[in-house]
């Protein structure tokens, strides 16, 4: 049984993430913490996020969490969610913000104009709602989740990794974009598994039982 720490850096929907993990915990223990030593002591780390990337980076630094987050992302099973995916990259267009640089690539904004869907409706930004996720290769976190399963998204920026081998899945809005990244024991998704009903709970459960 593993001990999982959800990183609290004052942004967004930690409670939702913790509640969903607790729902599927099955003996694993879930702790929400903003203490670097607790991250260091954890078996696994979940890194959620919501809001603006610049604010997230500022809060991580204000709480002295940068080193502990980077160490966890490189050394233990680590799950990034939403902004928790974007923060792993080098740089975001959102507020011209430097990320943690664990994965190389950029975070870009969906163009606000000129995006239309199949029935001619304007595609809105934020990209909000349930979209299909297409895994690129088998991975323990995709176990039991079919290609094309819908997950819940809310975001205005998307990641563009430099190396395609880190892309774990893509979605389309209307062009294809990377909606999940993985490297070693790190896995991160743009969507919100904690709000994605059974498919999301399955992914969280897969993370808890994952032994990379």
């Amino acid at each position: 049984m593993s001990h999982v720490v959800v990183v609290d850096y004052g942004m967004g929907n930690l409670r939702s993430v913790a509640k969903a993990l607790e729902y599927v915990a099955d003996g694993h223990t879930i702790e929400v913490s903003d203490v670097p030593e607790r991250l260091a002591a954890a078996d696994k780390v979940v890194f959620p996020g919501q809001g603006a990337m610049r604010d997230c980076m500022r809060e991580i630094d204000a709480r002295g969490l940068r080193e502990a987050v980077v160490h966890a992302a490189r050394n233990k099973p680590f799950l990034g969610l939403c902004i928790g995916l974007q923060l792993l990259f080098d740089h975001s267009e959102e507020g011209d913000t430097a990320g943690l640089g664990i994965l190389s690539g950029q975070v870009k904004k969906f163009p606000a104009e000129g995006m239309v869907d199949a029935i001619g409706s304007r595609l809105k930004v934020p990209h909000m709602g349930w979209n299909e996720v297409h895994p690129h290769q088998p991975h323990p976190l995709w176990e039991g989740i079919e290609d094309g399963t819908r997950f819940y998204f809310v975001h205005s920026y998307y990641v563009q990794p430099d190396h395609s081998k880190v892309i774990a899945a893509h979605s389309a809005y209307p062009f294809e974009f990377a909606c999940a990244a993985s490297q070693d024991a790190l896995f991160a998704v743009q969507f919100h598994p904690e709000k994605s009903d059974r498919a999301g709970l399955k992914l969280l459960s897969n993370f808890l039982t994952w032994a990379p």
């Binding site: 967004g12 809105k124 979209n131």
Partner: protein, 254 residues
């Protein structure tokens, strides 16, 4: 295949219980919020919206325990509206487990509430609800507050554009002319607002049939449709609504 159009059942909550109005005969108890929300989740609802209509200030705090309980059991987005007056109300509801907070009258009275909430918590969780009524003098639609009682003199399309500029991440648009009539959405209003703003628009007010839902999306260009009575009284399930939409070429989460 891409983003699905959303179907959102709306639940009125009074003093911690789901209630439904019965033909002007007052409110009837419709059950425990967790059970009702879970039933809609099982039917395939894409989100659930709770509207707190508690009149007595003694019971207003009950909405927090409702949201706490639902969010521990139902893992789809939860929107909460009703009685949100200040940034601390937004924070308290988010902390209880809400994903999005809807504000209406208070946003008109104090537009800074939209900006301050969006700055603090992100646009993704700020929904501005707009109650609009057709204005025969201008040919447009006017914004109303206080549950449709007070005219504001504001044009609904202009107000929609303004709230997006202030940081709203979504608009919940209700036609006061159609609300409760079961004669369908005001499609002109829905389309005018949806085409004017960059953020998703949820159409509300007037749904009487599944065809109304399809029209709201296909003609009104809504990104999501909200309905209460057609689901509450068991006429239709969310699942049957989605099957109906899918047959008409609307992309839905099945």
């Amino acid at each position: 295949m891409g983003l699905a159009k959303r179907i959102i059942p709306c639940l009125d909550v009074n003093a911690g219980r789901v209630v439904k109005g019965v033909n002007f005969m007052g409110l009837r108890d419709a059950g425990d919020p967790v059970e009702v929300a879970r039933r809609y989740d099982d039917q395939g609802a894409d989100e659930v919206t709770f509207l707190d209509i508690t009149a007595s200030s003694d019971n207003r705090g009950l909405i927090f325990s409702v949201i706490e309980a639902v969010s521990a059991q139902v893992f789809i987005p939860l929107t909460v509206g009703g009685g949100v007056r200040q940034v601390s109300d937004v924070r308290a509801l988010l902390n209880a487990g809400a994903d999005k907070i809807s504000m209406n009258t208070s946003a008109v009275l104090d537009p800074r509430l939209i900006m301050d909430s969006a700055d603090r918590f992100g646009s993704q969780c700020i929904v501005v609800a707009i109650d609009a009524k057709r204005d025969s003098l201008t040919g447009g639609w006017q914004v109303y507050t206080h549950g449709g009682r007070n005219a504001t003199g504001r044009d609904a399309v202009e107000w929609a554009i303004e709230v997006c500029r202030l940081g709203a991440g979504e608009i919940l648009l209700t036609s006061m002319d159609r609300d409760g009539t079961r004669s369908g959405f005001d499609l002109d209003l829905t389309r005018a607002v949806s085409e004017a703003v960059p953020v998703p628009v949820i159409a509300s007010g007037g749904v009487g049939s599944l065809q109304d839902l399809a029209d709201g999306i296909l003609i009104g260009k809504a990104d999501a449709v909200l309905a209460a009575s057609i689901f509450h009284f068991g006429e239709h399930t969310v699942g049957s609504a989605k099957a109906f939409l899918a047959e008409r070429g609307v992309e839905v989460r099945l």
